[in-house]
């Protein structure tokens, strides 16, 4: 999968495999250095276009595309299609739903 240049239509969100995202901050810590560094930066930016990512990373476009590809597949990123140009955004939640019985939680409501 490759990603479009600045101004073109990005890869749609539904290209993520089911069941991979969103991820948690703890998952982020487990990423290899280059991927984690990129997601860290995107968290601070709250999203960035492909052009901005290329400018920030100063890395070969093919390598950046491969990294983005991996992060999208793993559910760490989504593509905001409503933005022009499209933005790659972190796809993180504070925690995955807990498995405690509803009865226990309901008692606290």
């Amino acid at each position: 999968m490759t990603y479009p240049a600045h101004g073109e239509t990005p890869a749609p969100r539904q290209q993520q495999p089911h069941g991979t995202g969103p991820r948690t901050m703890t998952d982020l810590l487990g990423l290899p250095d280059p991927e984690r560094t990129l997601v860290n930066w995107l968290v601070r930016q709250r999203g960035a276009s492909l052009a901005d990512i290329l400018a920030h990373t100063q890395t070969e476009p093919a390598a950046v595309q491969a990294t983005l590809d991996n992060l999208l597949t793993a559910g760490f990123l989504t593509v905001d299609e409503a933005s022009d140009p499209a933005l790659f955004k972190p796809n993180l939640v504070s925690r995955k739903p807990r498995t405690l019985p509803d009865q226990l939680w309901n008692a606290l409501d």
């Binding site: 901050m25 810590l29 709250r46 993180l92 939640v93 925690r95 939680w105 409501d109």
Partner: protein
């Protein structure tokens, strides 16, 4: 440009919220516009230092995270609540806003059960910065490393870690530093709090700095006046000439000097 500063400690009971309130108010006394967000959703409490009761606020951070209000709606200007030892309003030239977390058991449980969108919390921080025209955003975090804390660390321009001169704190701080480095936090400062007065200042600072390779921004000794105040206000306004208060201002000056 607004500085986002997260205040963290690996263990509870380090005086994190107390120092956050004191330092943020000291920064505001320099004419700055400051907000504190209580992201200690599991055990909120910093509002007490500003004399706020649960009945004093309509909205909380929880409401924002559930899309019941804007981030600004959950921010309260507490500048007028900040008083001196005589009970008179303090002369703060800047502004202090507070975004409290809910104290309702059901609402705390709901957040623990359902979690929230990390991006939404991040967006809320930026909304506060823009809409309140802030110079500084302080994030009072939950002790230890958890999902909420990791986000606060990840988006900070500066992280302040509070520790006591205690072996468990020392070990935990090392872990926290490792995580902060993994999250690419640009600037990290340590504050040593509740130090017994048997430790000479320079010796203790040197020991901590050598151990972690991170600067110690302040050293605060345990004192009876703090115990007597019992979170009943902002310490430096009640005891402006106290060594603790001088150290609070020293840290505040370091933070503003880094602009």
């Amino acid at each position: 440009m607004t500085q986002v500063i997260s205040i963290h400690s690996f263990r509870g009971g380090t005086g994190k919220s107390n120092l956050t309130a004191n330092i943020a108010t000291a920064v505001a006394s320099q004419g700055k516009r400051v907000a504190i967000v209580d992201t200690d959703i599991q055990s909120p409490g910093i509002h007490v230092l500003f004399g706020l009761d649960e009945e004093d606020f309509t909205h909380s951070l929880n409401d924002y995270l559930w899309d019941k209000c804007s981030a600004k709606d959950a921010a309260y200007d507490v500048t007028a609540h900040v008083v001196t030892a005589s009970g008179a309003p303090a002369d703060i030239s800047g502004t202090v806003y507070l975004v409290p977390s809910s104290l309702k058991a059901g609402e705390i449980a709901k957040i623990l059960r359902e979690g929230y969108d990390v991006g939404l919390l991040n967006d809320g921080f930026h909304d506060l910065i823009n809409q309140l025209n802030l110079d500084y955003l302080f994030i009072d975090t939950h002790p230890g490393l958890n999902e909420e804390t990791l986000l606060s660390i990840a988006i900070s321009d500066r992280m302040v870690i509070i520790l006591r001169p205690d072996r468990q704190d020392f070990l935990g701080t090392a872990v926290t530093l490792e995580v902060a480095q993994k999250l690419d936090v640009p600037d990290i400062t340590l504050l040593v709090n509740k130090a017994p007065d048997i430790y000479p200042r320079e010796t203790l600072i040197d020991k901590v700095q050598t151990q972690y390779g991170v600067p110690v921004g302040g050293l605060f000794y345990e004192n009876d006046e703090m115990l007597q105040l019992a979170s009943g206000g902002i310490f430096w306004l009640h005891h402006p000439d106290h060594a603790f208060s001088q150290e609070v201002h020293n840290v505040a000056r370091q933070l503003t000097a880094a602009e």
